[in-house]
Every structure is written in C-alpha cells, then in structure tokens.
C-alpha cells in the first residue's frame, strides 16, 4: 500500500500539487544544480500549482519563467543537463508537446545512447494530463502511450500525493530524462473538481519511490484491474461496486509506465485469472494493449477469460459535456467490462 496506514494524529494531508512542489524544494535545497524553468512557473507558481512557493524561496535565477518557446527551452534543458545541471521543465499541458517534440524524443531521450552512455541527460519534464471538464481536444489528452512508446525516457504518472512526492524526488535524482505526468483531476485544484482520494498523508522528510514498482492498492482474488493516475481511482470505485456483487477485485497502480512492472501484474493475474486494463489514453497502440500483451507473451494459460480494456475511444476528445462523458472511462464501464468477460467465459472460468 503506497499511502499507507498512518496514525491519524500526525496526518499531513497534501494535494499532489503541493507534494510535487515540496519534493522539488527539498531537492533544490540540497543540490544547487537543480533548477526549474517553464511557462508561468515563477510568480504564478505553475498553472496547476506544482511550483508554488519556489520562486519566493529560490528566486528568478533558479525558477525561471520562459517565453513561449518550447523548442528552445526543451533543447536548452538537454544541453544544460548534459553540462552538469538538473533542469526541471514544466510545459503545462501534455497536448502542447507537439511543437517541441523533436528536442525530446530525438535528443533528450537518445543522447545517452548515442554517446554510449557517457553523456547523461538528467531532465525532469512535468506536464498535466487528462480531461473530464470540457476543455476540448487540445487540452484534455493523456498521451501516456506516446511518451512510453519512445525509448530512452522514463514515464511517471502518480495517482496520489504520497506517490507524487516520492516519485518526484526519484525523478530529480535519476540520471535519465523522466517525464512526470500529473493528472489535472487529481491535482487538488478545486477549480478542476479534484478527486479527493488523491489528497493523502505525505511525510515531511524526503523519500523516494523506486521506479518500476507497481503498488497493489487493493487486494482481491477474482479479477485484476490495472491502471495509472485517474484510472486507479476509477478502478477502486469499480472494485467497491464489484464487492457489492460479491466479486473481489485486485487493483494495481502501475505508478511508472517506463520502467513497467510486468512482474507484479503477472503475479496478480496469475492469482485472479482475469484482467481488465483501464486507461484514459487512447485505446489503440497504447498501455492497455501493452499490459495484455505482457501476460499473453509470458503465459496465456493463467487467463481464465479474455482480458478487457476500458480506454479512451480512438477519437479526438470532444468538447460538449454529454459527448466527453460518454467517451471517458468510468467505474460503470469497468463493471460492464467485467460482465462482458463473464458473458464470454470459457471452460476455464471456474
């Protein structure tokens, strides 16, 4: 369990935004090579609050507002990182990365390899993901799969503030480029209608959560539901609904997509025999397919039924509320996926 059982007396509940800012501040205090740059990260403290307080503590030299020049500052991050700095770079929505993608996937992510491992590029990219509040097709995507697909960068997507802090500290200390993708609906910004379960106890002292270690956030024996970020909360809600029907669901929070903890997923599916993968990213060529393929490749015989996916349909995200809500994954869709799996069960189901 990531958020852990903590004595209520010393509870310190933080939003993901504050947990991220705290982790950054703690690393900046001990490591002068860490600095932050991006649009509106300075006095505004980040559009989604994850750099709040940093400008006041560290000043404009280490917390730099940039022009809207992503190609320049993503490239600059690569250069600064290769020269001994540890830049943390914010680009507020993942949807905006198209304008500077080359600097990331062709340089930042490949330079270590091109140099035979002699050049390190310790950059952390921070960006928001997700929709649900009618922000339209250029401000609501997740694109987890897009970044996870390309080799050379690690991909982090926390579901709660405890993980958010530990994963941020680990990201900053990692010698490789990391993209840290936080979901807008978990960020703890009231104006985005936040998921309350993401705001949890966060210890004050610094700690890391190792990459590539999924968390079993709910134990169960009948079906495994695998997800990240907002999907984990949908999965937990679905697990409650399934429990009411007498079905015991295990929920796996991947926490990092690269590296991917295939072992934990496989062990869980070996136990339950049934798999549903939930993703707010697009259905095809993405995380859902990757998880199912991992099981199929290793040992198909652990499956008692065809795995199911609950993902975003392969459409641009519609603005209008009824259409967007129709397209989003939800606990109800996870239940439907379970029923469908049951309807199609073969001889192995029991």
């Amino acid at each position: 369990m990531s958020s852990g059982a903590v004595a209520a007396a010393n509870e310190r509940r933080l939003t993901i935004a504050r947990a991220m800012a705290e982790a950054i501040a703690q690393e900046m205090r001990i490591d002068p090579s860490v600095f932050v740059m991006g649009e509106d990260v300075g006095t505004l403290g980040g559009v989604f609050g994850n750099t709040r307080g940093l400008f006041d503590e560290f000043g404009g030299e280490r917390v730099r507002d940039t022009p809207i020049s992503e190609t320049a500052f993503m490239g600059a991050a690569t250069g600064a990182a290769s020269d001994g700095m540890r830049p943390i770079v914010e680009l507020m929505f993942v949807d905006f990365f198209g304008v500077c993608f080359d600097a990331i996937y062709n340089s930042m992510a490949k330079n270590a390899y091109f140099s035979g491992g002699t050049v390190k590029v310790p950059v952390v990219l921070m960006t928001s993901t997700g929709g649900g509040y009618s922000d339209g097709g250029q401000h609501s995507q997740c694109l987890y799969g897009t970044f996870a697909h390309l080799p050379g960068m690690k991909v982090v997507a926390p579901s709660n503030a405890y993980d958010a802090k530990g994963l941020m500290t680990a990201s900053i200390r990692d010698d490789n480029p990391v993209i840290y993708m936080y979901h807008k609906g978990l960020q703890g910004m009231g104006w985005l209608g936040t998921e309350p379960a993401a705001t949890v106890h966060v210890p004050e002292e610094s700690y890391t959560i190792p990459f590539g270690q999924a968390a079993i956030v709910r134990e169960g024996k009948d079906v495994t539901i695998v997800s990240v970020a907002m999907g984990v909360h949908n999965a937990l809600k679905a697990a409650d609904l399934l429990a009411a029907k007498g079905v015991s669901a295990e929920v796996v929070d991947l926490r990092t997509l690269v590296p991917l903890d295939r072992d934990t997923v496989f062990a869980s599916v070996s136990k339950t025999g049934r798999l549903i993968v939930v993703d707010e990213d697009y259905h095809s060529y993405g995380m859902t397919g990757e998880i199912i393929a991992s099981i199929a490749e290793r040992d198909l015989s652990v499956l008692k039924a065809s795995p199911q996916r609950v993902a975003y349909p392969d459409i641009p995200i519609p603005f209008s509320r009824p259409m967007e809500q129709f397209a989003l994954p939800s606990p109800e869709k996870i239940i439907e996926a379970y029923e469908k799996m049951k309807g199609r069960r073969g001889w192995r189901w029991m």
């Binding site: 507002d65 809207i68 905006f96 509040y133 349909p313 603005f319 009824p322 129709f326």
Partner: protein, 318 residues
C-alpha cells in the same frame, strides 16, 4: 466597425455571465452551461475590426485560443458560434470543438488552441490561393507571446520567401498568461522583427481602430497586388483575465483600472460623436442593434439541444 465592436463586447459579456452560472460559490470549470476554459477578448476588439473590415468572406482568417472577437469581425455565424461554445448540437461543429476550436468554412475562419499554430495554415491557404490563381489574402492572428514560438519565425520566412498574400497580426496585450512581455521578449516591439524576414512591419499604438484600419489597409493592398506579406504589431489591452477564473495577482496594482479607463469602445464612441457628428440617439440605435444580435444568438444557443452522447464517435474521418 463600431457596431461590430459592440457585438463582440456584448457577446463576451453574455458569455461571461453564463459561464459563471453554476460556478458560484465554488468555481469549478466543469460546471455550468459553458464548461471548460474561457478566454475573453474584451478590450482587443479594435484589432479584430480594424483588420477584418478590409476582408470579404472568401479571405482567410486563422485565430487563437482567444478567438471570439476575430470570428465576429470575420462574419462567423454568431448563433452557431454561440451554440458551439455551449456544446450544442446546432454549434458550428456540433459541439465537438468548443470555444478554442471555432471553424466556419463558409467564411474561411478557423483557430487553434496551440500557440502560433494558426500561422502555418494561414501561410498554406495563401499559398493555395496563389497556386490556384484565386483571389484572397490570409490573415493570421497571434498574441505577442506567440511571437517567440518557432512557428512564428519559420512562417514569416516562408511567407516572405514565396511572396504570399498573408498578413501576420500580433495582438500585443502585454501579457502571456502571467508573464509580461518585458520578461519574455528581448526587443521592445515585434514590428522590428519584420525587417529580419524581408517584409514591411507596422507598429500601431493606442488600441485605435482607425489607425489599425489604416495599417491593415496598406498591408492588405500590398498582399492583394502580389507584393507579399506584412507584419502588423498592435498594442492592445486585455481587459479580462487570461481565462475566466484568473485571479490576475501578477498585474501591477492599478493596471486594470487604468486599462478600463481607456476602454476602446467608449473612446471610439466619443470620436464618432465629435468627428462624425453621431448623436446620442444614433449611438443608442447602433447599440440596440448589436444587443439584439447577441440576444438572438445566445437565445438560439440556450434553446438548442445537446448532441447525443454517441455522436462523439462520428466525424473522426470524413
């Protein structure tokens, strides 16, 4: 031009009021009849009307995340635009696009919420007109923040190189969200950049529709006569927050009040009275006409039905 400025302002005021329905006391973007982000254009109307007054429906305009004033000045169907902003089935895209994605091919208007990404399409439309031997100019609106985007520099060079009939219009409202122009741009005015790409640069101060009209007239005449692109840099004022819900703590004290005191709409009205001898009654009649256009459009949007949820799956391909 005055009437169009009023339509634009009344439209934004109506959208602002409706946007806040369901968002009080707790501001949550997901709630109310108009959810999502909302970027209003109050104060920037002169940039829209001063340029678009020279255009016909066959000319092309590409706009930004802050598109309503330009859309109105270009003649986008007001009722269907309002319905789009509400996410209704009768909207320009049936509710698929929303406020940052206004597309009206009948008047060749489109926009993108990604900074500077309307620029390439404007250049391409101008290229298309040139290659097809068809008349028409393309106008690309951007903010001063977008002038630091790679696309700005690439498109200016391309348009000048190929001598395309395109006009780049910078609406310099001095702010890119919370970042002041002085903190993002190394030179005082972006019109200076025009010479680096081999095109005329106009710098227009005072947020004055007549001065903008004059500069745009020159640039558009040049483009229409085969003389290639121009850059028009306009100092304007953003009288609203970056988006609805913006606390605007980054603004220096008193700035907003000072900007409101020089609101271009009353200033234009005073000028029409003194220079063109329009009476109070004339102005009131214009205002009434503008108001009723907006009321009709908003009424249409309110009454229209939402799309069926599964219409989300249509129109991915055509």
């Amino acid at each position: 031009m005055y009437e169009t400025m009023l339509v634009s302002r009344f439209f934004e005021e109506a959208i602002e009021a409706i946007y806040l329905e369901g968002k009080k006391p707790v501001f949550n973007m997901a709630k109310g009849p108009i959810p999502g982000e909302m970027h209003l254009s109050n104060g920037q109307e002169p940039c829209a009307v001063g340029v678009c007054a020279h255009l016909t429906s066959s000319d092309i305009v590409t706009s930004t995340h802050r598109p309503h004033h330009a859309a109105i000045a270009k003649g986008v169907d007001l009722a269907r635009m309002a319905a789009e902003i509400f996410g209704k089935k009768t909207g320009l895209s049936g509710g698929r696009g929303g406020h940052m994605h206004i597309f009206d091919p009948d008047v060749n208007f489109s926009c993108s919420g990604i900074i500077a990404q309307g620029m390439g399409p404007a250049v391409g439309a101008a290229l298309s007109r040139k290659m097809q031997g068809r008349d028409g100019v393309a106008v690309s609106y951007i903010g001063e923040g977008a002038a630091n985007q790679g696309a700005f520099h690439e498109t200016l060079n391309l348009a000048a190189l190929w001598k395309l009939p395109v006009i780049f219009v910078i609406e310099d409202n001095a702010w890119g969200i919370s970042v002041a122009k002085s903190a993002s741009t190394a030179i005082p005015n972006n019109a200076l950049r025009a010479s680096a790409y081999g095109m005329p640069g106009h710098h227009v101060t005072g947020n004055d529709p007549i001065a903008i009209f004059a500069a745009a007239g020159e640039a558009i005449a040049l483009a229409r006569s085969g003389g290639g692109p121009s850059l028009i840099d306009i100092e304007t004022d953003r009288l609203a927050g970056h988006f609805m819900g913006d606390a605007e703590a980054y603004r220096p004290k008193g700035e907003l009040e000072a900007l409101r005191a020089r609101d271009p709409i009353p200033a234009f009205a005073r000028r029409l009275q003194s220079e063109d001898a329009l009476s109070d009654a004339d102005l009131a009649a214009i205002s009434d006409r503008a108001r009723s256009k907006v009321d009709d459009a908003i009424g249409f949007a309110r009454e229209s039905a939402y799309p069926e949820p599964d219409e989300a799956l249509d129109k991915v391909f055509v």
